[in-house]
Amino acid sequence: MSTTLYDKIWNDHLVDQQDDGTALLFVDRHLVHEVTSPQAFEGLRNSNRKVRHPNLTLAVADHNVPTTDRTKGISDAESKIQVDTLDTNCKEFGVQLFGMDDKRQGIVHIIGPEQGFTQPGTVIVCGDSHTATHGAFGSLAFGIGTSEVEHVLATQTLVQKKAKNFRINVNGQLPLGVTSKDVILQIIGKIGTAGGTGSVIEYAGDLIRSLSVEQRMTICNMTIEGGARAGLIAPDEKIFNYLKGKPMSPKGENWEKALNYWNTLKTDTDASFDQELNLNADEILPMITWGTSPQDVITIDDKVPNPQSESDEDKKNSIERALNYMGLKPDMAAKDIKIDKVFIGSCTNGRIEDLREAAKILKDKKISSHVNAMVVPGSGLVKEQAEQEGLDKIFVNSGFEWREPGCSMCLAMNADKLKPEERCASTSNRNFEGRQGRGGRTHLVSPGMAAAAAISGSLDDVRKYQN
C-alpha cells in the first residue's frame, strides 16, 4: 500500500499497537530543557526509575538563561534554581548537558540540528511545542507535556494515536525580500491556529525543495502555530550535506547505512492525504501579524481589520479584543504602526542565515533613535560564526545590542521583556497577550522585516531595502 512519509516513520517506530489504535512509539531522540523537566526527573526519583537511554537524551538550559554577561551567573533566584536543578538532574541520571558556559549551549531546537543529534527518519520529542522544528530533517518531531517527558525518560517510548495526513504544497518562486517566515505566516493565516489540529503536515512542492535547511526549519518550527502535531519535509541532499561531519552524526560505515535508509524517506507518489492545500509562492508578500494570535496576519501593504465588517459575532469580538490589547485602530495601515523595540532571535529565526538576512539590511544604516533593538543568537556556535563573519559589528554599528544565546524575549522568562504597552517587531513565533511581557505588544515578522522596522521606527517593507 502507498504510504506517506509520516506513515513510514510511524510504522517504523511501532513497539506495540492496541486494538483501539493506541500505540506505543519508540523515541530515538529526546531533547530536554530546564522548564519542563524538573517534575519529570522528580517523578523518576520518587518511583525509583532510571533514564532508560541517557545516550539518546540531550539536555540544555535555554529559557531562563541571561543573555547579558554570564560571568555573574543568574540573578533571578527562581531561574537559578531551575537551571541548577537541570544540572543536578543530568548528573544524577547520566544525561549529557550543555551548560551555560559551554559554547554549544543555545536554544534546544537550534543545538539539536547543529550537533547532528537531529536525524532524518527519527522520532524526536521534547517538552516544548516548537520541537516541530526538527521535522525539517524528515523526522517526526513534536512537543510533549512533562508527564510524557517522564514517560520517555523511563521507557524511551510514548503512548500515541496516529494523526491524519495533511500536505501543503508550495510551488513557484518567492519574490525578492520574501522569506520562509512569510510563507509559514501566510499558511497559518490561511488554515487558522486550529487548522492543523489532529494532523501531521508534510510540506512539499518545488518552493519547499528550493529552500535551504535553515529556511525549512523556520517553516516546520511554526507548524504548531497552525495547531498541527508535527510538520515535516522529505530529506534530500541538502539535509545530508548539512549533517555530514556534525559531532553526533553517524560516522564511517554507519554513515553509509544511514544514508541508504534516509534516501527511502519520501511519500509514495500515489499516497493519499486526508487534506491538501496548494499555495503559489509568487503571490506571497512580506507578512506581519496585527493581533494576538499567529493567525492574525496581513501583508505589509494591508490595513488592520475592522471588526464592523465582520458578520460572525465570535470573530468580531475576537478582533475587537485583539485591537484593544494591541492599541490599534481599525483600518490603520500596517506601515503606520510605530514600534519601540525589535527582537531578532528565537528557535524560529535565531540561526546564522537569519542573522545574515537582517545584517544585509542593516549594513551601513542606523536604527531609528526611538527604537531599542537586540539580537540574540540561537546558540553559542551561531554567535561565534556570526562574529567570524563580522555580523556582530554590523548590528552594533547600526544600534542593536549583541547578546548571549537563549530563548530570551521570545517568551520573556529571563530578564528580557517588554513593558506594558511597549510594541515590538519580533522574529519569534507567538504574539499572544503578555507573551513578551505583561501588556507587551508583539508583531511577528521575518528577520529582514525586523531590520527594516528598526531602521524606519515603524513596521516597514523590507523590499524597500533590497539592492
Binding site: T22, L24, Q156, A194, R229, L411, P420
Partner: protein
C-alpha cells in the same frame, strides 16, 4: 493520578476563543520545580491587575464561580505552548473538567495525564450549557456513561476508550507501558541491527 468518575458543579463560562496556555498560566510561573501551587496564578493576567488586586468582573473571581470545578470555554482551548503547568494550574484551582468545541492536541493529551476530563461538544450545546453557568445552576458530568446531565436534559459526549479507562481507574501511564518491557527490548534489539547509527555505539 486522581481518578475521575462523576462531577457536579456550577460551571464557569469563559466566552473567549483560542485561549492559549500563556493565558492559562503565564511564563513567570513556569520557574517552579513543583506541580502544585499554581492555582492562585491561573489566568493571572485576566484575574489580577498590575497591583495584584483581583479584577472583580473576571468570572473566576466571582462567587460561585471561584469554586467551579467545570470550565466552559471557546474553541481551540489550550493552544500554543506545551507547558503542562496549564492543566496543573487548572487542577490546583479545582477545575477537573473543561468543556469546549475543540482543543489543541498537546493540551488535550496533558489533561488526561492529570485526571482532568476535557469534553468536546458542538458550539450550540456549549451555548446551551453556558446558560446554566449564567443562571448559577449545577450540571453533572458522568464519565462512565459519557454524558452531561443538566436540568431535565442530557448530552452524550465521546471519549477515547483507553483514555477513559485510565481516567476512571487513575492509571499510571508509565507503569502500564513498562508492562510491555519485553516488547520494548525486542524493538531495541531489532533497531540495533537495522539502524546501528541510532544508538551510535
Amino acid at each position: 493520578m486522581q481518578k475521575f468518575n462523576t462531577l457536579k458543579s456550577i460551571p464557569a463560562y469563559l466566552p473567549i476563543v483560542n485561549i492559549d496556555t500563556d493565558m492559562i498560566i503565564p511564563k513567570q510561573f513556569l520557574k517552579t520545580i513543583k506541580r502544585t501551587g499554581l492555582g492562585k496564578n491561573l489566568f493571572f493576567e485576566m484575574r489580577y491587575d498590575d497591583q495584584g488586586n483581583e479584577i472583580s468582573n473576571f468570572v473566576l473571581n466571582q462567587n460561585p464561580y471561584d469554586s467551579s470545578k467545570i470550565l466552559i470555554a471557546g474553541k481551540n482551548f489550550g493552544c500554543g505552548s506545551s507547558r503542562e503547568h496549564a492543566p496543573w494550574a487548572l487542577l490546583d484551582f479545582g477545575i477537573t473538567c473543561v468543556i469546549s468545541s475543540s482543543y489543541a492536541d498537546i493540551f488535550y493529551s496533558n489533561c488526561f495525564k492529570n485526571g482532568i476530563l476535557p469534553i468536546i461538544l458542538e458550539e450550540e450545546k456549549i451555548k446551551e450549557l453556558s446558560e446554566y453557568a449564567s443562571r448559577k445552576e449545577e450540571i453533572s458530568v458522568d464519565l462512565n456513561d459519557e454524558k452531561i446531565v443538566y436540568g431535565n436534559n442530557e448530552i452524550k459526549f465521546d471519549v477515547d476508550p483507553f483514555k477513559k479507562k485510565c481516567l476512571l481507574e487513575g492509571l499510571d501511564d508509565i507503569a502500564l507501558s513498562l508492562k510491555k518491557s519485553d516488547k520494548i527490548e525486542s524493538f531495541e534489539t531489532d533497531l540495533k541491527n537495522k539502524k546501528p547509527w541510532i544508538f551510535n555505539d
